[in-house]
Symmetry: C2
Subunit: 355 residues, 2 copies
C-alpha cells in the first residue's frame, strides 16, 4: 500500500475536478480516486489492504459468538442528493445500518458501491464520501470494501450508492414476525413522515417557518439498549419507503394478524402535518429514515416505552396500536373522531426516489 | 410469507409488462415484483423470510471455523446487457463470487441491489434474474437479501446491479500480496481478453467467422482445488477492468516488486488477437471475467500448472512470468522478438461499461 501510494504523485482536484469515464476504467485514475478520496475518508485496516475483498475477523466477545451473521443491502437513488438533515452519503449508511440492527444484530461492516455519472463534480462526491465516513464512525461500523463504476452523462443521475452491511446477532436472540401474538402492543420510536416531507418540500420548493429536516439517523444505540433490557421484543422494522402503512401491512401479512392503530397516539410534528396537507400526502405513507416500529408483549409495553423515552432517539416514542386476530390481515386506524378507516398498502407510485 | 402471498392475486405480466415507478415505491407493486420474480428465481430459506436482512448461519464444518469471513462488492453497469456468453445477471454473480474466492475463501452468500430504469421490459428483467439464479446455483452461493430501486426514464440505463458477497476462509489460509517473493512464478488460468473483446465486437457490430464469447464464469471450483492442493500459493487476483496490466501493476506496487512477462507464453485466442488488432486494443489491457492470475513459489509452479490443466476452467493455464526485485514496481514484457516493453497502467478511459 505505502509502496503503491507513491505512484499517484498527481493530486486529485477535489475542488474543481469532475468525474471522468477514466475514474471507472480500472486504471490509474480509478486507483487515484480510491486512494485519495475513499480510502482517506473511510480509513480502516480491512479496507486499506486494497484487495478486492474485505477480510473480517468475527469478534469473539462473549454474547456475540452465536455464529449468526446478518447481511442487508440497499441501493440509494435519492433526489436531490443533498437535503436538510443529510445527504445520499449519510442516508446510505443510516439506511443499511438500520436494516441490519432491526434484526437485533450489532452492525459491524459495510461495503459500498458507487455508480457515478460522468461529469459529476468531485467536490460534491467528496462531501458525500465525508458524510458517509462520519455516519459510519457514529454508528460504529467500518466501510470495508467498495467498488466504483462510471456511466456516460445521461445514463445515470449524479450518484447512486449501494451499501451492504454485515452484523452479528447476540446469542439466543431471535426477533421475527412469527413471534407476534394477538394482544401485543405496537410502538413507534418517534414522529412520522419527517424524511419524506423534508425531501418533497425541497423538491416543491416549499418554505415553512421552520425547515423540516429529515430524521435520517442510525438507530444502533437505541436498538442495543432495547434488546439488552427487553429481549422478549417480538420484532422491529424501520418504516422507510411506503411509511408506517407499508411496514405494518407487511408485518400483519407475515404474522397472520390484524393491527389496530389509534390515530391520536401517532406522533406527527405539526409542521410535518401541515406540509402533508399542503402536498396532499398522508404521513402514515411517508418514508422515515430514523424511526423504528417495535412490537412487544402487552405487559412489557410500558417498560419498553419508558426505556425508549430515556434515549434521545426515542424521546417521542409512543404506543400507537395493538395486534388483533384478523384472517384478512387488515391494518386499521381508529380516527380521532371515533371512526375506523383502513390503512391499506399504497397501490402505486407515491414518492419516487425518496431514498 | 404464505399468508402474505395471498395478497397478490394479480399476476405480474412477465411478457409484456414494463417496470413502473411503482415497482420501487415500497408498496404492493414492489412486493409483487419481489414475490413473483425475485423470490421465485432465487428461492432459499434466508431470502424467503422476506425480512430486510438475511440471517446467516456460519457453517461449522471443520476447516471453515477460522472465524474469518470475506465480503466483496461490485456494481455492474455493463452495456449491452446481453452478450455472447452471458448477460449482466450472470456477470454480476460471477464477478462478485470471483472477488470473494480470490482470497481463497469459499463464497456462501450474495446480496443483490437493482437500480431499474422506468420502462425497462419485465421480460428482460426476468431473463436477467433467471440468469443470476442459475449462476448462483452453479457457484453454490445463495442470494440471501436484496433491494430494488427505480429511477425515471433517462436517469438510468436499463438495469444496474450491485452484488455483494460473503465467504469464509479455510483455517490458517492467508493469501496476500505481502507473501510475494522475488523468484516467484506468475500464472494465468487461461486465454486473455475474451470478455472485453466479446463486448466491444458487439458494440462495434463486428462479425468474425466464429462468435467471440465472454469468458464470464465463477472460478470457485478451480480455486477450491488449487487452495486444497497448493496452500502455499502467494496470492490470486482476477484481471477484470484494466486487464492483466492493471492487475499485475497493482500486485507489483503492493508487493514492492517488479514483474517480467514472456509475451509468447501469454495465451490469447487467435480470433481475440485478430479482433484486438482490428479494434486497436491490446489484449493485456482488456477485461476478463473468468480468469485468474496466481503467484506461487517457483518450485510449486509446475505442480500448480498441471493441477490447473486438469480442470476445465484452467485447461489453457500458463506460466507467463516471474517476480523480480524492482523498487520501481515495473511490469515488463519480453516480446517475441526479444525486446522489452513496459506494461504500464492504462492512464485513462479504455473500455467503458465493460462490467
Amino acid at each position: 500500500m505505502s509502496a503503491n501510494k507513491r505512484k499517484y504523485t498527481q493530486s486529485l482536484d477535489l475542488v474543481q475536478g469532475k468525474v471522468e469515464m477514466a475514474h471507472g476504467a480500472g486504471g490509474k485514475a480509478m486507483a487515484q480516486l480510491i486512494e485519495q478520496l475513499f480510502i482517506r475518508a473511510f480509513d480502516n485496516p480491512a479496507l486499506n489492504v486494497q484487495s478486492d475483498q474485505a477480510m473480517l475477523a468475527l469478534p469473539d466477545t462473549a454474547g456475540l459468538a452465536s455464529g449468526k451473521i446478518v447481511m442487508a443491502t440497499d441501493s440509494h437513488v435519492i433526489s436531490p442528493l443533498f437535503f436538510p438533515g443529510g445527504d445520499i452519503g449519510s442516508l446510505s449508511v443510516h439506511g443499511t445500518v438500520n436494516d441490519v440492527v432491526m434484526s437485533g444484530a450489532k452492525a459491524l461492516y459495510l461495503s459500498v458501491g458507487f455508480i457515478l455519472e460522468e461529469g459529476f463534480p468531485l467536490a460534491d462526491l467528496k462531501r458525500i464520501v465525508d458524510s458517509m465516513a462520519f455516519a459510519a464512525r457514529e454508528a460504529g461500523v467500518a466501510i470495508v470494501t467498495g467498488d466504483t463504476k462510471v456511466v456516460e452523462k445521461g445514463n445515470g443521475d449524479g450518484v447512486f450508492i449501494n451499501t451492504t452491511g454485515i452484523g452479528v446477532l447476540p446469542e439466543g436472540l431471535e426477533l421475527s414476525t412469527d413471534q407476534v401474538r394477538v394482544g401485543d402492543k405496537v410502538l413507534v420510536s418517534g414522529s412520522l413522515g419527517d424524511h419524506g416531507v423534508a425531501i418533497m418540500s425541497l423538491r416543491e420548493n416549499l418554505t415553512f417557518e421552520t425547515t423540516i429536516e429529515s430524521d435520517s439517523q442510525s438507530l444502533d444505540q437505541l436498538v442495543a439498549r432495547m434488546i439488552d433490557r427487553i429481549p422478549d421484543i417480538r420484532c422491529m422494522r424501520d418504516p422507510t419507503r411506503g411509511g408506517l402503512a407499508a411496514t405494518l401491512n407487511e408485518i400483519a401479512g407475515q404474522a397472520d394478524v390484524g393491527i389496530q392503530l389509534q390515530e391520536e397516539a401517532i406522533p406527527v410534528k405539526p409542521q410535518v402535518r401541515a406540509a402533508c396537507e399542503f402536498l396532499g400526502l398522508d404521513p402514515l405513507y411517508v418514508a422515515n429514515e430514523g424511526k423504528l416500529i417495535v412490537i412487544c408483549p402487552k405487559q412489557r409495553a410500558d417498560e419498553l416505552l419508558a426505556l425508549m423515552h430515556d434515549h434521545p432517539q426515542g424521546a417521542d416514542a409512543a404506543i400507537i396500536g395493538e395486534v388483533f386476530e384478523d384472517p384478512n390481515h387488515f391494518v386499521q386506524l381508529k380516527t380521532s373522531f371515533g371512526g375506523m378507516r383502513m390503512v391499506d398498502w399504497i397501490s402505486g407510485e407515491q414518492l419516487p426516489r425518496i431514498c
